[in-house]
Symmetry: C3
Subunit: 366 residues, 3 copies
């Protein structure tokens, strides 16, 4: 099975390197293989992150094969991306434009994520909001970046209670949102993923109860609605504890083929050392299903917007990127905005923050 990292358009150099690497794989031992593979990835990312011409052709349709995301030709693709802030928020501030997307591309992203807040969806109105998404998808496509559409609620969809007003939605509105997205984007290959519900949480019971069986049922209902519209876009499903915990997947996975799972393993979800706990809590799922961490990120304790559970340092960056690299897990970093935290840049010159510097480097080199 071939592996492609950031690059989307296959060019001869990349093809050569893949051929070369695979030849090496057949000959070399495990250590050497990994070493060369890593060097290769570095090179590929370097090339692809500098290929800035407008992409006019369609991106290759993403689907699921075993525990990997693959392109239409069956090659594995691992995503390294950046999370946009809400398109509606960016549009209001005058930053929902191609420059914003170009910058994400410049940082090394092969995917971006649009967090559609329910309150913004209602305030802006369906038709108007869809125009924003359409624009974003066009710019992303021109730059060869995939898109995740993310229904950005936080709370308990069972009781319809949420962490704060901006996340208020209903089961009906959630189903209708995905019905609309399925109709609108089923033939759009730039939209790789439908992330069904950002962060499910009962907030330690403050939002009432929701069993895994109930949650699973809601997700299966949503996937059914999407697929009944003929959309093959890959649904992404998260677990409880603010999308951290995927343990129930071990014994009771979502009853649907061709989906991916999500975790948001922010640094303070667990004490160091993280790796063993990550594997127990969500990493185990990567052995069987494709996994994408649609939110990772950190900031220092005194940084603007510092809050639980994101406070940490570069050691977190090293740990989570290595963990993903070793296991072929995709990720996108929260958040490409100068005001929401943990922010990746500080001003609209895109001056990187501490984590901005870290991940700008990480995306380009890993």
């Amino acid at each position: 099975m071939h592996i492609r990292y950031a690059s989307i358009k296959v060019n001869p150099v990349i093809i050569f390197f893949f051929y070369f690497t695979n030849a090496l794989k057949r000959e070399s031992g495990s250590y050497m293989k990994n070493h060369f593979t890593n060097l290769l990835f570095l090179y590929i990312v370097f090339i692809s992150s500098h290929c800035c011409f407008a992409q006019t052709s369609e991106l290759s349709r993403i689907s699921v094969k075993g525990n990997k995301f693959v392109t239409a030709d069956g090659n594995v693709i691992i995503f390294r991306g950046l999370d946009a802030s809400d398109p509606n928020k960016l549009a209001k501030e005058g930053h929902w434009n191609k420059e914003y997307f170009q910058e994400m591309k410049n940082w090394g992203a092969n995917i971006t994520r649009f967090p559609v807040h329910p309150v913004a969806w209602r305030e802006q109105g369906k038709d108007s909001y869809i125009k924003l998404i359409d624009q974003g998808i066009t710019w992303a496509k021109e730059l060869g970046m995939y898109v995740i559409i993310d229904w950005h609620s936080i709370g308990n969809l069972c009781t319809e209670m949420y962490q704060s007003d901006m996340y208020e939605t209903t089961q009906k509105e959630t189903f209708e949102f995905w019905r609309t997205m399925a109709k609108q984007y089923k033939d759009n290959t730039t939209v790789a993923f439908f992330e069904l519900f950002n962060e499910p949480t009962i907030y330690n019971g403050q939002l009432g109860q929701c069993s895994w069986t109930e949650w699973k049922g809601l997700m299966e209902e949503t996937i059914g609605i999407i697929r009944a519209h003929g959309a093959t876009t890959v649904p992404l499903v998260a677990g409880f504890n603010w999308a951290y915990d995927l343990k129930p997947v071990a014994s009771d996975p979502i009853n649907a083929e061709g989906i991916g799972y999500v975790s948001h393993p922010y640094p303070m979800k667990r004490e160091k050392p993280w790796e063993k706990q990550w594997t127990e809590d969500w990493g185990f799922a990567a052995e069987k299903y494709p996994l994408i961490l649609t939110e990772i990120g950190f900031c220092g304790p005194d940084d603007r917007g510092a809050h639980i559970p994101v406070i940490s340092d570069e050691s977190y960056g090293d740990a989570i990127t290595k963990y993903c690299r070793d296991r072929g897990i995709s990720y996108t970093v929260w958040v490409f905005d100068p005001n929401w935290s943990p922010m990746l840049f500080t001003d609209w010159k895109f001056t990187p923050t501490r984590q901005g510097k870290y991940f700008k480097n990480a995306l380009k080199t890993k």
Copy 2:
């Protein structure tokens, strides 16, 4: 068990003919009996469709006896009627008047159906809409026609997702609608039926899932609410596939006595020949429960408003009317309006369309 077709007021001629027929039945074989019975029916409908004086007495209360609808005296009554369009729509256009009802009567209807669209119910407001229904019931009663009140939604009441905006409702609104109807019309014998939900459908999954058990539960809840108000009006229950499919009734009928079942067997729901499939899909239920097809109809492929599943020709008319006649199944034809399709007339002089001509004749002669 005596059988009455269209006539509501019993007059001496009819009584004589019933006596005569029953005498014949005792003497003649099966073929002859049916032949004479059919002749009789022809004659009765002919008489009753010309009796145009104002009916001031109450209509006889309709109830269920075995697999038949019966009047208060226990005589079987089979309904042949015409579906009005939405009272609110007709009122806006200035056609919610006695002339409209007189015309339905002239065509041979002994029943009409008011399709109350949830969006119209909300827009017009409960009190104002009830006035429209009251007017319609009064006109119908004066003309000796029964009324079906039909909650005209199309979609999935389980997930509260619908085919289009005009059909949007909720479980709560549906329950409240019937609570209101039960209070308002429980003592009104002109209102023969409460058709609980026009066309249940999951739209091939686009509106999410709804099991028969869930649907059955919603219908039983609604029937319970109606009856708790002391209303004995007969509830009508439809099945999935836009009210076409009653198969689950065979093994898991609605847990309530004294109800009728509904099917809407439009021509394109199945390929010709229809009869065997109709029996398998819904006709079988007529052996055990009273059945009324509250929507049948057709139009040619090039007729205005032609759409799936109504395109056909007179052979459909022949098939469905014979099927009903042979089994004592009631029906009403969609739709007595010049704009909604398949329409029965083309202008407000009530000029019949192709199916208008067909069913105008059918109601008068069968």
Copy 3:
């Protein structure tokens, strides 16, 4: 286990009497013991109902111990109180003031109950309504009276159908109300009780069905939400038949520790003699759980506002107060308002009605 009736601030005279009584208890037989105890209570209530100085210290936290409500020191407290009308209604009329609370205290109440009507909660708005509750709590505390916050809906929370418009709410709104109350009053010891839902009823099926299992689930969900916020305020749970019937508690109690049960045994819920039926319907629960009758009351058949089920006479007062006294059951009387019925006073000079005279005496002497 010590018993305290109305008094909240312990003063030396009371302490002496408790000591004296307990000495007596050790010596005397059952009859004598009860006789002396009752005399003692009379005296205590007499004292405490005249102690009108502002209470600046916190009231003792109420909790559940066995089948009793207890103060922080573990002493049993039995409540005798008066039900306020809706704070929003009183505020509009200019009577939401300390004088109103002082009068309740003068009548002998050691607790009052705020019936928050869902429609008033929405109309006034959350923040504004909370200010009213805050004021009421402050006045109550200054006078040494506890407070019950009561979500004053009547109907079926399962189907979300209600007795009339003023009681309209949803499961979600109910959960959110208690989420708000829990956050707001978890550290306020004057708020002794959260009465989760005033009067559950299916209105003989007119509001649809709700099984005890479903109702129990809704109550457990609500209790879970309250406690997840760290609130130890005692939840009160009522049963069906307008909060009269607690029979299902015998075999299937609410799965939560530290709660109280409620009944509203108005006189016409059962025929005389009441006592045996009361025990079967709800009184049995007092042997295992703390019980509070948050609505009792009566009026004569010709009194203003007379309606089923409240019409009776003083024999009801005698029966219900004796029943409670004999079993250590708490109660509050409906309603301290001159317009809602059965009213306790007739004008804003607080002139007692017939039941006003009865219960004014009852609270002071029993």
